[in-house]
């Protein structure tokens, strides 16, 4: 089975803190994604990566950055957390492009106070 693992399930951070959300996949997938999910807004793409050290902005990249130093690992970084970044963050991955299912991790619940 595909395994996408998000290391932190629940985090509480203070406004202004730097936050790292880590994600690892074990299927040698080329593509990795970070989404956030909010009530009434559904899933929104923050960033994605199609190869090591490659990244592209999604629909809502402001306030976030990402890092992909190894194929299996994709990190989401909040440089200075704000309360409007309180959300559920979902990492996902899949093989190359097009007709391939995206598999999700279990999610990381971030609360910024």
């Amino acid at each position: 089975d595909v395994k996408v693992t998000q290391s932190s399930r629940y985090l509480v951070k203070r406004t202004g803190e730097k936050v790292f959300l880590e994600c690892v996949q074990d299927m040698d997938h080329e593509n990795m994604f970070w989404y956030r999910q909010d009530p009434g807004l559904g899933l929104r793409l923050i960033y994605f990566s199609y190869d090591v050290k490659m990244k592209e902005k999604g629909d809502i990249p402001e306030g976030y950055s990402v890092s992909r130093e190894k194929k299996e690992r994709f990190s989401l970084i909040l440089e200075s957390a704000s309360t409007n970044q309180t959300s559920m963050y979902l990492c996902a991955s899949n093989y190359d492009r097009g007709l391939n299912t995206i598999y999700f991790g279990e999610g990381s619940w971030l609360t910024v106070v």
């Binding site: 996408v4 593509n31 999910q37 909010d38 009530p39 009434g40 559904g42 899933l43 793409l45 994605f48 199609y50 592209e56 999604g58 959300s87 559920m88 979902l90 492009r97 097009g98 007709l99 299912t101 995206i102 598999y103 999700f104 991790g105 279990e106 999610g107 619940w109």
Partner: protein
């Protein structure tokens, strides 16, 4: 905590009945579709997919129907069980894009 499900349409069915969840997609160029199930506090879980060159695909207790004429997708769950209670949403992939476009979801409630 529950972050998925506020303001979502809800389908309530009796345990043992069949469920039909619908999804309208927007892009006639979409060529791949996926149904996900999301339980409270968890990430979306892949259920079944279908490519645009097919009209129907069956899995274990689930069937997906695709009507390209009216851009409509449905998920049928046979003999619905309490464990099927979750939010279900469809996703579409357009051409060779990396990205999926997600629907807003439907909450399925199974009455005992």
């Amino acid at each position: 905590g529950e972050s998925v499900g506020l303001h979502l349409p809800t389908l309530s069915v009796q345990e043992g009945d069949n469920s039909i969840i619908n999804c309208a997609y927007s892009n006639s160029a979409s060529d791949y579709f996926i149904w996900y199930k999301q339980e409270s506090g968890k990430g979306p879980q892949f259920i079944i997919d279908i490519r645009s060159n097919m009209d129907k695909r069956q899995g274990q207790r689930v069937t997906v129907l695709l009507n390209k004429t009216v851009k409509h997708l449905s998920l049928q769950i046979a003999a619905t069980q309490p464990g099927d209670s979750a939010v279900y949403f469809c996703a579409e992939n357009v051409g060779s894009s990396y990205k999926l476009i997600f629907g807003s979801g439907t909450r399925l409630l199974v009455r005992p």
